[in-house]
Symmetry: C2
Subunit: 254 residues, 2 copies
Amino acid sequence: MSTDVSPSAEATAAILVIGDEVLSGRTKDKNIGYLADVLTAHGVDLKEVRIVSDDTDAIADAVNALRQRFTYVFTTGGIGPTHDDITADSVAAAFGVPIDVDPRAVAMMKERYEDGELNEARLRMARIPDGADLIVNPVSKAPGFRLENVFVMAGVPSIMQAMFESVLPLLEGRTPLRSVEIETDIKEGDLAGPLGRLQEAFPDISIGSYPGYDVTRFWTNVVLRARDPDRLAEAEAALRTLLAELTTQQKEDE
Amino acid sequence: MSTDVSPSAEATAAILVIGDEVLSGRTKDKNIGYLADVLTAHGVDLKEVRIVSDDTDAIADAVNALRQRFTYVFTTGGIGPTHDDITADSVAAAFGVPIDVDPRAVAMMKERYEDGELNEARLRMARIPDGADLIVNPVSKAPGFRLENVFVMAGVPSIMQAMFESVLPLLEGRTPLRSVEIETDIKEGDLAGPLGRLQEAFPDISIGSYPGYDVTRFWTNVVLRARDPDRLAEAEAALRTLLAELTTQQKEDE
């Protein structure tokens, strides 16, 4: 619930979470919130998230829909050793490129596995589409990969985060969004009209309001976001004046 | 990471989460995990989730893409009183139907608000597309609505859950999936081949494996899912035999 600010040149992103275990509720996704935080701090606007099942067509269709619309696409999940880990093959299908066991990936995995351990199942994790760059996996060695603007990462949060550390420096972010958050006792429904007019006066500031309540009271958090610290300060001053006026007015009405 | 079982007649669902605050990371979504759990328990297969920004085209496009492909679509978020709460209008646009303040919704809101409090902003929450049924909101009164197979609900988890309680009896679920989970010390990479063959022997059972590790050891959780308890028991017996054989074999190899 915040107005979208559209800068002239923006780096955008989408996340594609892959896995029946998330859709069944068995696994509660933790990667979306993490990536949302880090991308926002880095100045990349996360625009869409999708969660799809372990189905080649579902994965390939989503990859193709998202990679054409956003600067970056990040996938998580489905790159393990079992029969249902089909992300790499599905991404290759989406791009229409061949896929096979990649000697670079095998070399990385040999750091962890003895020769006898690199069975057919584990070698699935070394299947990399033609033309992809590898993303190192410092935790369990089996790498992710990057194909054009699509970054394919593990689903286990600790491994995904370790992979993303080497991805982040590759991304072109802008000046990160700065934000100011002010809590007020004015209820959201009383604030909405004046806040809409504040938004009209500051079209370059993203203004969001988030209602909260507990057993004792209602409140509203107002969040201002902008890349320009001076404009953010001007909007904050205007908001504080507005809230003071509304509070005074409410007391007079009582 | 589990094989998809395709029954003959299935009730499917998609979730559409609406809100810039989720994409920016400010709010960590809790509705997807909740709905995934309840839908799965009710025998409705959650097939896709999307998170989109507070943008009319993004919302309407997602609603139209999902409502044509799945039995049910559940949206959360964007039905509050502020300028950026545009879900109801966007859903009306998706269906190509008019939208206006609905007297039934106003009547519900009068249970909570005094006449003077029902200002223009709060009346936004009574905007309901033509032809929709209302979804009662026992927490804060402003209702959600159902238009054909699309259910529009609040984003605040406690309100969403209260709304969903009256939605759930309307859904046609099948026999819920039953599941059996077995933990083994066999690593996923050693288990993957035999598990793939077990899957071939039990094509009607969904078999998933989920690796875990901590500082002391690696393990794998194997999950079997099926609607038929007898078949599930057969698959469980076969899995236990398989795991015992693999464990014996590993000890002999050491």
